[in-house]
């Protein structure tokens, strides 16, 4: 965002996204005013800083809290300069102005470091390597794995575990059967070309048993090439697409998993229909 403001004799162009935080702004003001970073002129820089914030406010630009904290610090330092030095201040204690000056110097060095990195010939910007896919993003899958991605996965497992179990459990109920789960998946996809995201589909089921059997049903139908499966990235959503018309799908042909060999017809639109 950029805004040009005219105020009195001075004309300003404010690049609000140029500043990466209060230290960045402060460094800019110190340099603009030609002040030595090591001998910070607190009064001058405080006035400049507050004036700048004022202008930002006039432009209705929202400021992150960090900027206001820095403003408070600066005002505090300025007030210390205006007051006579209190005798209770210990000699050994570092002058807070020096501490701020030191912080600014350190930040300036960080910017030097960032400049150095930015000047290096960078893959994808200045130089190209063969098969660039290996470098960015997927590099970790090849040469090492992302522990935070693994943690996300674990957290998802934990939250899925909270899925409510059915309140009513009938005696002799053998749980969801495979065939009706296949049919449920097909209904959700809704014909050739129909799409669905696997985990979303499974989450709409009420019990874990249903989710598991429906999941396996999906896998089996992928194996039969009735559905296609795609994933845009490592741990990304898994999309199912129905490839074959329902007329050409013969669920009786599925032998996997159907251990007892019979499906219960009255279940076809039964417990899985939400």
């Amino acid at each position: 965002m950029e805004a040009a403001v005219s105020s009195g004799s001075a004309s300003w162009t404010v690049h609000t996204d140029v500043f990466d935080g209060p230290l960045d702004l402060l460094l800019y003001l110190v340099k603009r005013d030609g002040v030595d970073v090591r001998k910070l002129d607190v009064r001058r820089v405080t006035d400049s800083y507050l004036a700048y914030l004022e202008r930002m406010r006039d432009l209705n630009l929202s400021l992150a809290g960090d900027y206001l904290v820095m403003a408070a610090t600066l005002v505090h330092l300025k007030s210390m300069e205006l007051l006579p030095r209190l005798p209770t201040v210990l000699e050994e204690e570092e002058d807070p102005r020096d501490a701020l000056a030191r912080q600014l110097q350190e930040y300036e060095r960080l910017r030097q470091a960032a400049d150095f990195l930015d000047e290096q010939p960078r893959v994808g910007r200045d130089v190209y390597v063969r098969d660039p896919a290996v470098i960015d993003g997927s590099a970790r899958i090849e040469s090492g794995l992302d522990i935070f991605a693994l943690l996300d996965l674990y957290a998802n497992l934990l939250s899925a575990r909270d899925a409510p179990e059915p309140i009513v459990s009938m005696v002799g109920d053998s749980g969801p059967d495979f065939r009706s789960c296949c049919e449920w998946v097909l209904r959700r996809l809704g014909g050739v070309g129909g799409r669905g995201e696997l985990s979303q589909m499974l989450q709409s089921l009420h019990t874990r048993a249903e989710r598991v059997v429906a999941f396996v049903a999906g896998l089996e139908m992928i194996k039969q090439h009735w559905l296609s499966v795609s994933q845009t990235g490592h741990l990304a959503a898994i999309d199912l697409v129905q490839l074959v018309d329902e007329d050409r799908i013969d669920l009786n042909n599925l032998t996997t998993w159907v251990e007892d060999g019979d499906s219960t017809p009255e279940d076809e639109n039964g417990p899985l229909d939400d």
């Binding site: 899958i141 522990i147 497992l157 598991v212 999941f215």
Partner: protein, 193 residues
């Protein structure tokens, strides 16, 4: 393409049959970065030179990338492509084959529940995942990411599993204490563009 030019003609781009060395290098860079075959017309268009110049430069590059070299310039599908010489394909395959493969999601799931809960029994992993994890635990034992660490003192005395050093290596962790905690996940992923 019967040009039998040698590189000493390079400094005389004005001379018929000559071409500036930068043009040759530009084409080399483009063919290297592309991976796919590029035809002469396209090269001429990108570098903004006459197609005739591209033809001369290609002839020079063919001399450079020829018999006996590890990389050769070949005519493929109406274009030009840099490829590894066929003689070295067994070596290239050895290099590729050594790359660690991507772990399938079920294995990642089991690995995650062992990593954060260890020591853990198969029953506990099954409960978290909601499916039988036996075969996957076996795969992870084979891959060397899990190990049996003992038996749980409960009915049936089930085996307990822990992650191995190989697990730490592949995730780039110095030790198990470096595993991020669930609250740290929230800390770092507080999303804000």
């Amino acid at each position: 393409m019967g040009l039998s030019m040698t590189e000493h003609v390079l400094p005389f781009p004005g001379r018929p049959g000559g071409v500036a060395p930068e043009v040759v290098s530009a084409i080399e860079a483009l063919l290297f970065a592309s991976g796919e075959p590029i035809n002469s017309a396209r090269l001429a268009q990108i570098i903004d030179i006459p197609t005739e110049q591209v033809r001369i430069a290609i002839a020079l590059l063919q001399d450079r990338y020829s018999e006996g070299r590890g990389v050769v310039l070949g005519r493929v599908a109406d274009g030009w492509q840099l490829r590894t010489a066929p003689a070295f394909s067994p070596l290239v395959m050895a290099l590729r084959g050594a790359k660690p493969k991507k772990l399938p999601r079920p294995q990642l799931e089991v690995l995650s529940s062992v990593a954060w809960q260890q020591p853990v029994t198969r029953g506990e992993v099954d409960r978290v995942r909601g499916v039988d994890s036996g075969p996957i635990i076996r795969k992870l034992l084979d891959r060397g990411y899990l190990r049996v660490s003992g038996r749980r003192d409960e009915p049936g005395r089930p085996l307990e599993y822990r992650t191995t050093k190989a697990f730490l290596t592949v995730f780039g962790l110095p030790s198990l204490t470096a595993l991020p905690r669930l609250d740290e996940r929230r800390e770092v992923s507080k999303s804000e563009e």
